[in-house]
């Protein structure tokens, strides 16, 4: 894999197209020779970030776009997911995986897994948010792999 190759995918805010991005992520993981389990991690993280961008960022307004850039280099895969929303109000990246509890079930909440799953699936993640939209950056290092 030569340095700094970018694959870019742009989708309207329709949840059906999250599957397109997820399939692209899987192929890119294959191209980087990621092991199977790591490809599953990548797919899940990308899926959560794109779903958030569609639902929370762009609020399902179909004409608003989600832009996904897969940047590949010798060291890592970086995925940048950008929406055209009005940003994340209060910015708390969960430090632990959110778990299901009796309380979750009683209150029928069952949300809030997205960001915490993303954090658990990738090596490193970063959020930049303003009133012009949110960018979430996921990084998966190619440690221990032939390059």
């Amino acid at each position: 894999m030569q340095d700094n190759q970018h694959v870019e995918v742009n989708i309207p805010s329709n949840p059906i197209f999250e599957r397109v991005v997820r399939a692209s992520a899987a192929e890119i993981g294959e191209a980087l020779d990621f092991p199977e389990d790591r490809i599953e991690d990548l797919k899940l993280a990308v899926s959560e970030a794109v779903t958030n961008a569609i639902e929370h960022g762009n609020q399902n307004m179909i004409h608003k776009l989600v832009e996904i850039v897969f940047a590949l280099d010798q060291e890592k895969l970086e995925v940048r997911i950008t929406d055209q929303g009005s940003g994340i109000g209060e910015m708390i990246l969960p430090s632990e995986v959110v778990m299901i509890t009796e309380q979750t079930l009683d209150e029928r909440t069952g949300g809030g897994f997205g960001l915490s799953l993303i954090k658990a699936m990738v090596d490193d993640c970063e959020v930049q948010s303003s009133n012009r939209g949110t960018i979430i950056i996921l990084r998966l290092y190619r440690k221990g792999q032939e390059q």
């Binding site: 899926s47 779903t51 995986v97 778990m99 897994f113």
Partner: protein, 110 residues
């Protein structure tokens, strides 16, 4: 019921075979509809499922909530290793433990 879930019933047991590879925001509603098919022992068969995200987890929680309310037992079957990992991580496995095909077959025969 939608053709996204096939029902197989014997006695108090129902196996709900999920017939989509992707349990996500797109398939959530069709899967949730199968809540109405639950029996005292309900098994969700994930054999054909290769992907579950948090929208998928949310729909699976509907089955958990309904099972608790009705006092039903709920199991997951044929979860991929990746999804076993995820279910442990979010503690879904506490509320929907896994069951093996062979444990189920004793029910099927009786």
């Amino acid at each position: 019921m939608s053709d996204m879930v096939n029902r197989e019933k014997f006695g108090d047991v129902v196996v709900l075979h999920i017939r989509t590879n992707s349990v996500d925001a797109v398939s959530a509603a069709a899967i949730e509809a199968a809540c109405n098919e639950m029996q005292p022992i309900t098994v969700l068969n994930f054999a054909e499922v290769s992907f579950i995200n948090s929208a998928g987890i949310s729909v699976l929680l509907k089955f958990v909530v309904k099972a608790r309310k009705a006092g039903y037992k709920l199991f997951a079957m044929n979860l991929s290793p990746h999804h076993q990992k995820i279910f442990k991580m979010v503690e879904m496995s506490r509320f929907m433990p896994t069951i093996e095909e062979r444990d189920l077959s004793s029910y099927r025969q009786s």
